[in-house]
Symmetry: C2
């Protein structure tokens, strides 16, 4: 697969299993792929994990990225084991001679490398002069300082790679703060010509992390920035993939395969228990594998026009319901039959293809 | 309160009670205000609803907007009853002589008017010539056509209002499709100098509507577009307000009053049941009324730097946990005591003010 250029924006996730637990890792990668992940990253903290890659990679339907965090030796092993891409952080790159070995190995095999500088690893921990320079930058406006540090560090690594004639790079500069993410990637897209991997890091559980993640990614994707995305939740990673896929679909960056449900928010004009009807429709639509737009409205008075471009729409009123297809009224039924009637029309519409 | 100009972006919601059910409506408005709504809209389909406004308005802590959908007479009654703002749609404005009466009444009392054209009410239903022109526009690229129709219709109403010397307007052009919303509001912000009310209409239940809504609103707010926002879910409207407030906080458009929880997404390096720890921390943080950034990390190896600017951070490892305050390690405790120790530090930090 291709990241960047004219390729579609791809969805990534990362396994939460121990990679050396081969069966569990393969199972989770299958779950992620089924949810729509185009590529999956796995952590390789130990030798047993890179060894496990040899069994995992042939058994899964998506390319595998090896996430190397501490020991750069793991990157060499992962390349040997057939990883499709390597992710390195500033920590692993601090030993320049080892970094050169990895660059050479990846170049030889055509394996791309992502360099990811997170807010948390932005300040240099190894070089005292740089550290003091970074701390000075943070003493001013913290957000501006962090963006500057992250972009500068990436520029430094990019130079190191380019000097070796290596240009198969993907860049990332993540933070838990959507404002830093938006600012950093705008700067990256103006500074570099490499594909960008978008993400809000450490976003927390979906209940608190979803809005933060979608806010940052949408602001960037809507401006045409971003070639691959990862949403990170402290949760089952399948949820990350589902939300990332939904975001790309919302922004017209990925074709829908399932129905889209729209519903009026209910108001003082309502005459039915719309929330319960919506929930029932949502459940029944799960069986449909077609990108149909279905509307459920709690008010018949405004007529078909209000169904907002829905393919099939249900207008529920007092005891009766009207069903419209492509804006034209096709049936009026009793309330008791409305869900069956709606699903009949949805299935008929879906079978038209 | 002020909408537009340099005023902060405000959060709106709409009651789902029957407005004439005064007690239920007052109760819901209080719930919405407590969740962070700056103003609340109520539907006034009948005479009993505008009458109810006389008892509702003095009993609630936020300005009330009357949503007039069918009979423009309701707008006059709502102004009489003390509504802070009126929302009109193209349908109500089709009778121009009545529209002029409402404009005069609002002008006399200094009541602003929002004109909202939704995708569903974009195509003219009253004027055959306009209808045919609109249908022609839709026959090309549907999204582009819809944006053009919505903006043109708003321009027509704006001229009608301006001819009466009325400029206290707020404009809206909603759709369930985030791409149409993003495009429409970009065009509105280039075309008009009036405050804009942002929203994705008929977004469905939060499970399917949240991403769509946040995606559109974030893309616009991040570009500086939008003066007041409403998220519409087919659900308890308190959820709309909570999500809108969270979005504004994420984008730095509203100050936080509660802790912000960040957490690592877990990976193959993890040694503890982080998801359960995160959930427990989330529950315990509910008692804290201070905008502290709290991090929960499942890996001690990366050290304090990885806590991404958190004020108080917990690093959970095998049997032991490290607690850091502003990036400095302050305590190492046994796993059994780590939540109590974390909360001690959080409370201490909060009390510093």
């Amino acid at each position: 697969m291709t990241i960047g250029g004219d390729a579609p924006v791809s969805v990534q996730s990362m396994t939460s299993t121990h990679t050396c637990d081969v069966d569990a890792t393969i199972q989770q990668i299958h779950n992620l792929a089924r949810a729509g992940a185009d590529l999956v990253r796995v952590a390789v903290p130990g030798r047993a994990d890179t060894e496990a890659l040899r069994r995992i990679i042939p058994a899964v339907p998506v390319p595998i990225i090896a996430d190397v965090h501490f020991e750069i030796q793991r990157a060499l092993e992962a390349v040997e084991a057939g990883a499709a891409k390597i992710r390195l952080n500033p920590g692993t790159l601090s030993d320049q001679s080892k970094a050169l070995t990895v660059i050479a190995a990846c170049k030889e095999r055509g394996v791309p490398i992502r360099i990811g500088v997170n807010e948390g690893s932005a300040v240099d921990r190894y070089d005292a002069a740089k550290r003091s320079q970074h701390e000075q930058l943070l003493a001013g406006d913290r957000r501006t300082g962090l963006v500057r540090i992250m972009v500068d560090r990436l520029a430094e690594y990019v130079r190191l790679f380019e000097k070796q004639g290596f240009s198969d790079l993907v860049l990332a500069a993540k933070s838990p703060d959507p404002l830093i993410v938006i600012d950093a990637y705008h700067t990256l897209s103006q500074t570099f010509d490499y594909p960008l991997h978008l993400g809000v890091t450490h976003a927390g559980p979906p209940s608190t992390g979803r809005i933060r993640s979608i806010a940052a990614l949408s602001a960037l994707l809507a401006d045409g920035i971003g070639d691959t995305v990862r949403i990170s939740y402290a949760a089952d990673p399948v949820l990350e993939v589902e939300d990332a896929v939904e975001l790309l679909q919302c922004l017209g960056l990925r074709a829908r395969r399932k129905p889209e449900l729209i519903a009026c928010p209910t108001c003082g004009r309502i005459e039915v228990d719309l929330l319960s009807i919506v929930e029932q429709v949502r459940e029944r639509l799960e069986e449909i594998d077609a990108p149909i737009k279905v509307a459920v409205m709690g008010c018949v008075v405004n007529g078909p026009g209000e169904a907002e471009g829905a393919n099939v729409a249900l207008f529920a009123g007092k005891g009766k319901a009207v069903i419209c297809v492509d804006g034209k009224q096709v049936r009026t039924v009793d309330e008791a039959e409305m869900l069956d009637a709606l699903m009949d029309e949805v299935r008929r519409y879906a079978s038209r293809g």
